[in-house]
Symmetry: C2
Subunit: 148 residues, 2 copies
DNA sequence: TAAATAAAAGATAAACATATCCTTTTATCT
DNA sequence: AGATAAAAGGATATGTTTATCTTTTATTTA
């Protein structure tokens, strides 16, 4: 439903939100999130281009979040790497439909709208707070990874 | 959000629902739905295997719907060709998470649940009825294709 | 200024989804 | 029975996503 790339991007962003103390390198994030390192590098590049994260080159460089978790909807993360595309005109290119979708494509597009709305209204902060039994990305249930 | 294959399957099923008089061949359906004919052939095969449609070989054969449009949720069509997969256990394979999803993956899975629910409750009949300006798959707004 | 560090960029490969083509099987009609 | 129609199945091709590896560029520190 959402692409592997989006999943990776979400993991990376949550990871950075959990460890806001300093920039983290691609290698670090890759290890923590279990995302293939060189692939993650491309993902982070896209996130930086869309100003979801900020990159810093050189020694002690790495990536940090560009916004507070409260101000960062998951949708922004997803759209940075794999933009949600709405159906705006008839996929069959029927001339009489044009921009007015038939029931079928309206229904499909409604589902896209729903997903978008859900991700627009859920911020990264929402993921961090409300701790359940499982801490995102962390193996242990009692300690944050940053504590190691 | 939904695959090209699912879109094709939905088109084919709606097409058959619009023309319930007799079996229709792959070639006919392909022409009406603007789906590549040989690819559609595989799609219809999957739909038949999942008993969404019924195939009839030989002269005057083709495909018909296996159920009344009222009894056919769009979800069944989608699941026949490209099953919606839920997140059931931690994608990072974190042992302590196991089957108890963290907030991140719960959120993503919730979106999958939402989509599934929407498609479960929308039947093919819903697509046919409530005519808007555009008739599904039909270029003309005044005549059903079957009338040609 | 030199060395070390880390992101950026580019090139290549593997896996998967989509699409096409060709042959075989099955049913129907005369 | 023979001819025809149509689905079923198999093999191959194209395109896109995902993944890996290497080189280049920018930054920091000593």
């Amino acid at each position: 439903m959402i692409s592997q790339t989006s999943e990776y991007a979400l993991r990376a962003v949550v990871c950075l939100a959990q460890n806001p103390d300093k920039p983290h390198t691609t290698a670090e994030i890759a290890k923590w999130t279990k995302v293939p390192e060189h692939y993650l590098s491309k993902v982070l590049l896209a996130l930086a281009k869309h100003e979801v994260v900020i990159s810093k080159k050189g020694l002690h460089g790495g990536y940090v979040l560009a916004h507070d978790p409260e101000d960062l909807p998951l949708l922004n993360v997803i759209n940075a790497v794999d933009p949600i595309k709405h159906i705006k005109s008839c996929p069959l290119k029927l001339k009489t439909h044009g921009t007015h979708l038939c029931r079928l494509h309206k229904q499909v597009n409604d589902s896209i709208d729903m997903i978008e709305e859900l991700f627009r209204t859920s911020t990264v902060a929402l993921i961090l707070n409300e701790p359940t039994q499982s801490i995102p990305l962390c193996e242990s249930v009692t300690t944050q990874r940053g504590a190691n």
